[in-house]
Amino acid sequence: MSKRITDIICPFCGTLCDDIEIDVSDDGKQILEVYNACAIGSEKFLHVQSPDRITRPRMKQEDGSWNEITYDEAAKYTAKILCDAKKPLMYGWSSTSCEAQSIGHMIGEQVGGVLDNTATVCHGSTLIAMQDVGIPSCTLGEVKNRADRIIFWGCNPAHAHPRHMSRYSIYSRGYFTGKGSKSRKIIVVDPRPTDSASLADEYIQVEQGRDYELLDAFRAALKGAPLPEMIAGVPSEKIYELVEILKQGRFVVIFFGMGVTHSLGKNHNIDMAIALTSDLNNYTKASIIAMRGHYNVTGSGQVLGWQFGFPFCVDLSRGFARYNPGETSSNDLLMRGEVDGCLVIGSDPGSHFPIGSVKKINAIPTVCVDPHMTPTAAISKCHVPVALVGIEVGGSCYRMDNVPIDSRKVVEPPAGMLTDAEFLDLVLKEVNQIKGDAT
């Protein structure tokens, strides 16, 4: 026999689907079947019972082999390297719960750490653009219920956010969009003819790295200004035509991804995309939404925001919070050799950071808190496997549109494994002890 658990939240991407159903064995230990999730989400749920799962913390030996230690020993080591460091980097936070983040922040306060999340190599440029020009946005339900013009710019939901299109943006049938995809015009702007582009009514193949020019041309066309014949590989008639399509829509939404946030121009691309959205509001209703990646990178920005006032790159090393991307951002700190101790949690910079930074992480004492054996874990001095948030422990998470959803526990973690919040709690206690402050 098995039992069905419903309303489960998928802890993979920023779409944060909350309609997953899972059959678990009667004893609540085995996941038998996953329903409604995409291929990536299903795999994440099923992976928890992988036989090669690491269930205890390990220290790396001189010869590169791993030696199993207890969680207490791992917590002591983590506390020590954070307290010993002049500028410890505490990076990641995007694949864990807000509760764990909060405990991490209290550690950061005491050790004078730099708290940075994966936005630093992802939508950090979006956050900077918001600080420049604001952001007119909406929840994904507004898209579902009202939007009749959808632009995907530099993002490929077919691969990165697989259920986004069916739940919110293309096929969903909402209150004012009863005909689903037939009620919407889909425009995809991408240098590559992606699988998402194949679903579009209009696919615009922008020349690589020239998004800024094209966005700028959209704004100009909207204002009725003359355009040269070709812009960024797109004929001007096409741009005028698209602008007309947008103006005639009732509700326009622009979704954008890493294709614009980390190509040439970075935050300036987003400035322009937001400015275009604002301008469109002179004619119709328009919103813009960032396709956030990790399931709780948005939550990390929120918790940092209400506790320290900044969404990422928060440097606490002077005893108060400072924010200055370029100076206080992980890669800049690592590349300049300023970091002398590192805690990585809920992310894999070993895979995502430039090699120069990865070498630095390898060279300094680094603790990696991650359920899986990742490239980051491989270059760390200490690897602390933890229970998976959203599967083996619940916790608050924020969807890409900032909607908070409380993720659920589905099955028990392997016996004796701690959650990241529990492990960070141990570290906080050790730090308190080292700092001689029992409060």
Partner: protein
């Protein structure tokens, strides 16, 4: 600390009609008591004012839009004022939109112990509660927004008060909310299509209901549920010249509705930040105050309370559930604009704003707030707020108190304005010599607000049996005459006690207290139709499931305090 004796202070307590008499206050087990045989701590309040802890009825301190305000304004942090981590104090920073820690510490320094978050989008309720949970010291509650909610629009259009009430009870429970907030009724739903409702008779697109029906219906719902607080309203047409007629039309909707509750609440309508709604003229060129007209109406209608929303002449961050207003404000100042429309429920916008004393419109806005407060006849019904951070940050309350208590302080501001004559010409403030007393200030900041919230049996006063929220301000009403001393004293409470626990001792933070969060749990008759409507709407139109919508007390609230009401009959 279980027993405290505060002796020899000038006690100002409108809840008991005490006007600054020298009295002793005794505290035991978290409550005010008549007397003590032995006090474990004695506080000498000689030459100082003793009041109940402040109660803020309307402030935006937690939740989605507040956090957008923080995150999209790094320039608001002011590095030099960022307070370092020290002992039990967390790092605390932010100017117009402080972090949760700075919010709590600053309110404590001002002698406040209860702060109501004025606008909670239901879908974002969990976020609001996470921030409230992380805000130390203060007792809090949040008001979910109903005025553009599809269920409410549908039920009220058909006159189904009972269904609207059943849904309201469900939503209060699901969001752990305290009362009914209504922001720009119908206008924010219209804004989802880029439109607005500017009068109480403007129909809401598609839903075909008017703001008038929404406001009247929500007042009826509120009374049928016997809620502790009344409808908390931000009416249509905020911030526009000539809007006072809309405001008067709206206020008149309260006539004929009777308060029905067991919380000693006497009003049926609380109109918030009334200053923003009392404008005359037709454009910004002939902009003028209609504060007198609006306040005259409120003075004569005991079923209405208001808070002012004083403009403090600062750089700030405006944020409101009135999405279309923020769009239009951005069209005026062209600073950055953030907006979030929330599915089926509401919306919000955020725009930084500089109220410059040298811009005459800002000067007139400043004078309207003060004019209205000085023309008010009953300060139990006219409350002190800055609609934080919209008209100014909350930490300017002490300055507002100074202006209210000193004509000289007001004249100093007038004299510093570039357009003094023009500003003086557009309101009656310059001709008012009234100076409010400490008693009236206490009505505006604790006794009156607690009563309007339906909490007057436990907070806002110093009567035996009440929760021991007590503040001692270093101000001597017999000898201090410098208005600057007023501002200083009200921002530097000497002692603060919350629920019997010492929070500030000789001005030093000694405890983060034991905050609690109020919410209202109303039981109504089972209503199958509403249950079915909720189920169906979640399946068809929401992007979260119904089971993932509800905020649980256990995970998201520190010391949840449910006010239970039986509205079955």
């Amino acid at each position: 600390m279980t027993s405290i004796h505060i002796k020899n202070g000038f006690v100002v307590d409108p809840a008991q009609g005490i006007h600054g008499d020298k009295k002793d206050i005794f505290i035991e087990n978290g409550k005010i008591v008549k007397s003590l045989t032995h006090a474990e701590k004695t506080i000498d309040a000689s030459g100082m004012v003793v009041m109940a802890g402040g109660v803020d009825i309307h402030s935006h301190v937690a939740g989605a839009k507040v956090n957008v305000g923080r995150n999209f304004r790094p320039e608001d942090k002011m590095q030099s004022t960022y307070e370092p981590y020290h002992g039990i104090r967390h790092m605390a920073g932010g100017t117009s939109v402080p972090t949760v820690f700075k919010t709590a510490y600053t309110y404590a320094d001002m002698g406040y112990t209860t702060v109501i978050e004025a606008a909670m989008p239901p879908l974002y309720a969990r976020h609001t509660h996470e921030e409230l949970r992380d805000t130390p010291i203060l007792d809090q509650a949040a008001l979910p927004m109903f005025g553009n909610n599809w269920f409410i629009l549908d039920y009220l259009k058909r006159g189904e008060i009972e269904n609207a009430a059943a849904y309201t009870a469900w939503l209060l429970r699901a969001t752990k909310g305290y009362g009914i907030k209504c922001v720009n009724p119908g206008g924010t739903e219209a804004w989802a299509w880029g439109l607005n409702c500017l009068s109480i008779d403007d129909p809401v697109p598609y839903f075909d209901i008017t703001p008038k029906q929404i406001v009247s219906g929500l007042m009826e719902v509120n009374e049928s549920l016997h809620l502790p607080h009344s409808l908390h309203l931000h009416s249509n047409n905020l911030g526009n010249p000539g809007n006072y007629t809309t405001t008067l039309d709206t206020l008149k909707l309260s006539e004929g509705i009777k308060p029905n509750n067991n919380f000693n609440r006497e009003q049926v309508l609380h109109h918030t930040h009334i200053q923003f709604h009392s404008y005359g003229g037709t454009t910004w060129a002939d902009f003028e105050s209609k504060g007198k007209e609006v306040m005259d109406y409120i003075n004569n209608n005991p079923a209405v309370t208001c808070d002012i929303g004083f403009v403090t002449l600062d750089e700030t961050t405006t944020m409101t559930g009135d999405g279309p207003f923020e769009y239009h404000l951005n069209k005026l100042n062209h600073l950055k604009w953030a907006n979030t429309d929330v599915e089926l429920e509401c919306g919000s916008g955020i725009v930084p704003y500089v109220y410059s004393k040298d811009v005459y419109v800002c000067g007139v806005q400043w004078s309207i707030g003060l004019e209205m407060a000085l023309l008010a006849k009953d300060h139990m019904r006219c409350h002190l707020t800055t609609d934080h951070p919209n008209a100014g940050p909350f930490w300017r309350y002490p300055r507002v108190i100074k202006w209210l208590m000193s004509e000289k302080a007001r004249n100093d501001v007038f004299a510093s304005m570039k357009n003094e004559d023009k500003v003086r010409d557009r309101s009656t403030l310059g001709s008012i010599d009234r100076e409010l007393t400490l008693y009236e200030i206490a009505q505006m900041t604790r006794a009156g607000t607690a009563k309007a919230l339906g909490l007057s049996s436990s907070i806002g006063g110093l009567a035996p049996g009440m929760q021991a929220d007590v503040v001692v301000y270093p101000y001597n009403p017999e000898t201090d005459s410098d208005p600057e001393k007023i501002e200083w004293a009200f921002s530097h409470a000497k002692y603060l006690i919350k629920s019997g626990e010492v929070i500030l001792n000789d001005g030093e933070l000694v405890s983060n207290g034991n905050k609690k969060t109020y919410w209202v749990d109303v039981t109504t008759k089972p209503n199958r139709q509403v249950e079915r409507d909720i189920d169906r709407t979640f399946v068809k139109y929401y992007t979260v499931t119904k089971n993932n919508y509800e905020v649980t007390e256990h995970e998201f609230m520190k010391n949840p305090c449910a006010v239970k009401i039986d509205a079955v009959q």
